[in-house]
C-alpha cells in the first residue's frame, strides 16, 4: 500500500480532529478512525465514520427514551437474545462507513451485497492509479478438482513464476497502453501535445480486472454482519476474505458484545436440516446410524459430519 505524502497528510489531519459530541462514541474504534489498514499488496480498509454502539441496539429494541440500560450485563443478555432469535431491526440501528481500496474483480463480488451505499472512484472522470493486484506465491493455487468454485493445491516452481510473470507483464502493458490511448500519464502529464486523448470512459476498457479501484462503502450493522458471515468464511475467495477479516476486527472494536454474539450464534454455529436432525438425534441417543439409513445424499452426509467434526465421512 503506497500513500502519497498528500494523502498521508490528509489522513493525519483527520486523525488530529477533536470534536465534542453528545452522541454515543465507541472508544476503541475512535483509536483507529481514518487509519489505512493494509490489505493484499496495495489495498486498504479505512473506517471513516460510524453511528451508534452496543447500547444503541438495546435502546432501539426497547424503544426507550434514554440509553438502553445502565448495566452492561443486562445489555449483553438482550443482545445475545436478539442475535439468537434472529431479530434483525435492532442491529440495523448502527451504521458504519468505510473507505476501501480493492482490485476490480473483488469489487465485482463485493457489490453484489446490495443493501449498502456506495460511491466509487469514477474512471469515466479520472485516471485510475497504476496499481494491480499480484497474488503472493502462497496464494497461487490450482483449480480445485473437487469443488468447481474453489482452489486446490499450490502451483509452484517454474509454472508459478510463469503465472506471476504473465500477470505482471499483462497488467503493466495494458496500463501503459491505457496511458498511451489517453495521451496522458497517471500523474497528469500529457504525452504528445499534438494529439488528442481517447475519452476516459473508453480507454479504461483496456485495463485488467486486477487493477485497483476504491470506494466509500456504508452499511448498517445487520447487513455488515451478513456480508462478513459470507465473506469471512473459509469458502469465500481468499482475496475478499482478506478484507472481511480486517473488517471483522473493526466490528470487534466498535460493538464488542455484538461481535461476541455473532461469533457464537453465526460464525461458529451449525445449521442442521430436518433430515440431518434425525441423524443427530439417533447419535445422541447412542444409536448407530449409517449413511445408508440416513436418508441423506452422500454430499449432505459428509457436510453434516464435517460440520460437527465427526469422523464418519464416506467416499
Amino acid at each position: 500500500m503506497k500513500l502519497t505524502s498528500e494523502q498521508k497528510q490528509e489522513i493525519a489531519e483527520q486523525q488530529a480532529q477533536k470534536y465534542e459530541t453528545k452522541r454515543v462514541t465507541s472508544p476503541e474504534l475512535e483509536k483507529i478512525l481514518y487509519e489505512a489498514i493494509p490489505v493484499l499488496d496495495h489495498g486498504f480498509v479505512r473506517v471513516i465514520d460510524y453511528m451508534g454502539d452496543d447500547t444503541s441496539i438495546v435502546q432501539s429494541a426497547r424503544v426507550s427514551y434514554g440509553k438502553g440500560t445502565k448495566k452492561v450485563s443486562t445489555d449483553e443478555g438482550l443482545i445475545k437474545y436478539l442475535m439468537r432469535h434472529w431479530h434483525s431491526t435492532p442491529f440495523e440501528m448502527c451504521e458504519i462507513k468505510y473507505h476501501v481500496k480493492l482490485p476490480i474483480f473483488i469489487a465485482r463480488q463485493w457489490i453484489r451485497h446490495r443493501t449498502a451505499n456506495v460511491n466509487e472512484y469514477s474512471a469515466r472522470y479520472s485516471i485510475l492509479d497504476k496499481e494491480f493486484y499480484i497474488p503472493s506465491k502462497e496464494q497461487l493455487s490450482a483449480q480445485s478438482t473437487i469443488n468447481r468454485q474453489g482452489r486446490g493445491d499450490l502451483i509452484t516452481g517454474d509454472q508459478a513464476n510463469e503465472v506471476l510473470k504473465i500477470l505482471k507483464d499483462d497488467a503493466t502493458r495494458t496500463y501503459d497502453n491505457y496511458e498511451k490511448m489517453l495521451n496522458e500519464k497517471f500523474d497528469g502529464t500529457t504525452i504528445d501535445k499534438d494529439k488528442k486523448g481517447l475519452a476516459r470512459e473508453l480507454a479504461r476498457m483496456n485495463l485488467t480486472l486486477n487493477s485497483y479501484t476504491q470506494w466509500y462503502w456504508k452499511t448498517d450493522l445487520l447487513n455488515l454482519l451478513n456480508f462478513l458471515f459470507l465473506r469471512a468464511d473459509k469458502h469465500a475467495q481468499f482475496e475478499i476474505r482478506a478484507y472481511a477479516e480486517v473488517m471483522l476486527e473493526t466490528v470487534k472494536k466498535w460493538v464488542p458484545i455484538t461481535h461476541a454474539a455473532f461469533l457464537d450464534y453465526r460464525v461458529g454455529a451449525v445449521h442442521v436440516s430436518a433430515k440431518g436432525k434425525k441423524v443427530i438425534q439417533l447419535m445422541a441417543q447412542g444409536k448407530k446410524i449409517s449413511f445408508e439409513d440416513s436418508n441423506l445424499s452422500k454430499r449432505e452426509w459428509n457436510e453434516l459430519m464435517t460440520s460437527f467434526d465427526f469422523a464418519e465421512k464416506i467416499v
Copy 2:
C-alpha cells in the same frame, strides 16, 4: 406532549453527555440532540443520533482521502451540482436516527417509505400509552368536493363539537375496555386479581387508529429528503406534514448547504411535461397559446398554469 419525570430524567442525562470524537460533527444539530420537539397534541420528534455533515457528501462524491475540501464555497457548488443533476449516492452517505411518537393512522402512512430502519414499540409485548390524537378545531375539515383525497371547508359549530365528542368518547371507551380485557391498567396495576388478562397481542385490536405509538426511525439523507419532499408538501395530510415540517428544520440544522439546495431544486421546483414545455416555449416567445391549442387535458393545463402562478386557468 406529556413526558413522565423518569423520561425527562433520561433525556436530560443524554443531553448532558459529553464525549470527544474524531468524527465530523454538526454543531447546530448537537444543540437540539435528544430534545423532544412537540408535534400535534401528544406526539414528538427527537433526533437521537446522526452521521456525517455537508462535507461528508463532498468527501464521498470525490472519493477523497481527507475531508471534501477546505473551502465552503467549493463544497456548496458541488452539492448544488449534485442535487441539480439528481446524483443520489453522495446524499446516501449521511445518516440520521429519530425517535418519534405519532398516531397509528399516521404511522401507517409513514411506514410506506420502505428504505428506512424501524423499531416500533410492541403492543404484543407492552401496554400502549393512554394517549390519542384529537384534532384541533382548526383542522376539522370536511371532505373536499374537488379532490377525493383531500380536505375542504372547515366543519364548525355543533357539528364540530359532535365530531370532537365522538372522537374523544370512542377513544376513551375503547381504551378503557382495552385495560379491562388486559385486566391491567396502563400503569401496570392489576384490576381483578382473580382473573386472567387477555393476551396483549389480542387486546390491542380494540384500540382506535388515533392511538399513539412510537418508534425509532433511521434513514439516510437521500431517503429522508424524498420523504420530506412528499410529506412536507401541501398535498400531504396535515397530520404527517406536521412531523415533516419539524424534521425539515432538523435537516436545516444538520446539513445547511444541502437544505438550501433541496429548497431550490426540489421543494420550489416545477416539473414540466414534454407537451407542457411546448406551451411554455410559445408563451416565452410572446405568442398566444390557448388551452384548445395546447394538446393538454384540462387538468394538465390547470396544473401547468398553477405551477407557474399564471392566471390562465379554465373551468
Copy 3:
C-alpha cells in the same frame, strides 16, 4: 368472508380468461388463480399473478440460454444444493402477487417485511368495509406468563363472553360513528343532506385496529420464503400465521421442488450455536454432559434440548 355479487362476477371473469403464452406456467397454481381462499372470519388470500417456476431458478443459477435442464432430477439436486448453501439470488428470479384482505393490526405486522411491493386500499380516498375481526373462542387466550410476547391458557366462560361482547360492541359503535362523521353510509348513501361530511382521512382515525383492510402484495420467492419462515412459525401470532399457512400451500402448488427443500432446510431445520455444538458433540460421543458443564445459559440449554426433542430440560 363475504363477497358482493359484483366481486364474485369480477373474479369469475378473471378465472374464465384463457390466453396463450410462451412463458413457463405452473399448472397447479393456475388452477387456483384469482380464487379467494378464506382466512380468519372475513379475510382472504388470492393469487393474482406469478412469474417463473422451479425451472426458472435453475435457469438463472446456470445463466443458461434455454430452460434449466430437461431432467427434473437434476433440477431438484441443484435447487436443494442452492437452498442448503444459502444461495439467494436464484430464488429471487420468481415473483408472485397476492390480493389479501386482513385486519389492520395484522397488516401492521406484515408491512414490516419491507422487500415487497404494496398497494393498499386507501381510507383517505374511500370508505372501508364494515368488517372487523372477532377471534373465535378457541383463540381467546390469556397473556402467557412465561413469554411476554405470547399467549397462554384459554379464557373461557363469562370472561370470554365479556371479551367477545366488548370487541363486537366497540368495533360496531366506532364504525357507526365513523359513518356518522362521514355523513355517509358504507354503501355510499348520504345520511343528512344538509350536512357536510368529515374528511375521510380524518374520520378513519375512529376505527378500531381489527377493521379489515386489503392490499395487493407482490414479492419474489426468496423474500416470500423469509416471510413464511417467520410467520408460518409457531412463535408467530396466530392471526398472521393463518395467512402464512394458506400462502405456504400456494408455494407448494407453484414451485413444488423449492417447497420441499424449504421444509427440509429451513422450516424443519435446527440452528446450533458454537457453544451448543460442543454439547451435541459430547452427546453424540456417548458422553454425559450436564447443564452446569455446558457453558450455556439456562434458557439456551432448554432451547437446545427442545430443538432436538431431547428430554434433558431443566427448571
Copy 4:
C-alpha cells in the same frame, strides 16, 4: 453477436413453447420473447419472462377485485395521472426479466442500480467466452474538453487505427494468457496434460474490462423506468445507452400506455428550479430578463436555456 448452434436450438425451443394461462399477457411482447436482440458487437438483450401489463397498474392502484377497468381510455387517464403525480407503487406491480450479454465495464455501471435481482455468469466457476467489445470507428471519441465525464470530437486516421489495434491486441493477448494460466482452452480442451491449471477465480483477473459477461436481470417496471431515464439519456455513456434503447423498445411492446406517459412526463420533461421558475415567469410575461438579473450561476442559466431550446445562452 455469435450464438452457438446449441444456443440457437435452446432459444428456438423456448420460442416454440405454447402454454395456456389465466394470467394477463402482453401480445406484442410475446412475439419477441426469448429473442436475442443484438447490441454492440457481441452483446444482446433477451426478454425471458414478464408479469402484468398496463391493466395490472390500474388494478393495483384501485385495489380492485377484477381487472382495472374494461375501458382503455379510462385506464389511460389513470396511468397518465399516476405518472404525472409521481405515484410509484402501482408501477412496481409489473415485473420483467432479461438475459443480457454485455462488456464488464458496462456491467459495472449497470449494477449500481441496486433495486434489481441479478444472477451473473460466474468466472469463479466457468470460463468466460472469448469475446471483447471493440468500439466502431464512429464511437472512437476523444475526451471532452468541456465535460470531464463525456466524449468530444472523433479520433480519426492513424491514431484511430492505433487505438483499435491496442484494444484488439491487448484483449487477445490477455485472453490467450488467461487460457494458458488455466491450462485450458475456452472450448474445454486441456492444453498441457502434465500441468495443473490456475484456479479460475484467480486467472480471470488477467482479463480486460471489455470482456463480455452475461446475466439474468430482473426488475419491476418502476425501477426499470428509472434505469431507462438515466441510461437512455444522451448524457449516458454510449455503450450502456445502446442497451437502454433496445430495452425501451421492449417496454413499448409490453406496456404501451405507460411507455407513452413515460415519454411525456419523464423523458421529454423539463425540471425547473425555484430560481429558474422566476426567469420563466418573467419571460412568459414578455419581460426581458438577462443572466445578470437571474440570480442563477452561468452554468444554471445555460442549462435552463438549453432545456427549453431558448437561444439566450452566454459564454
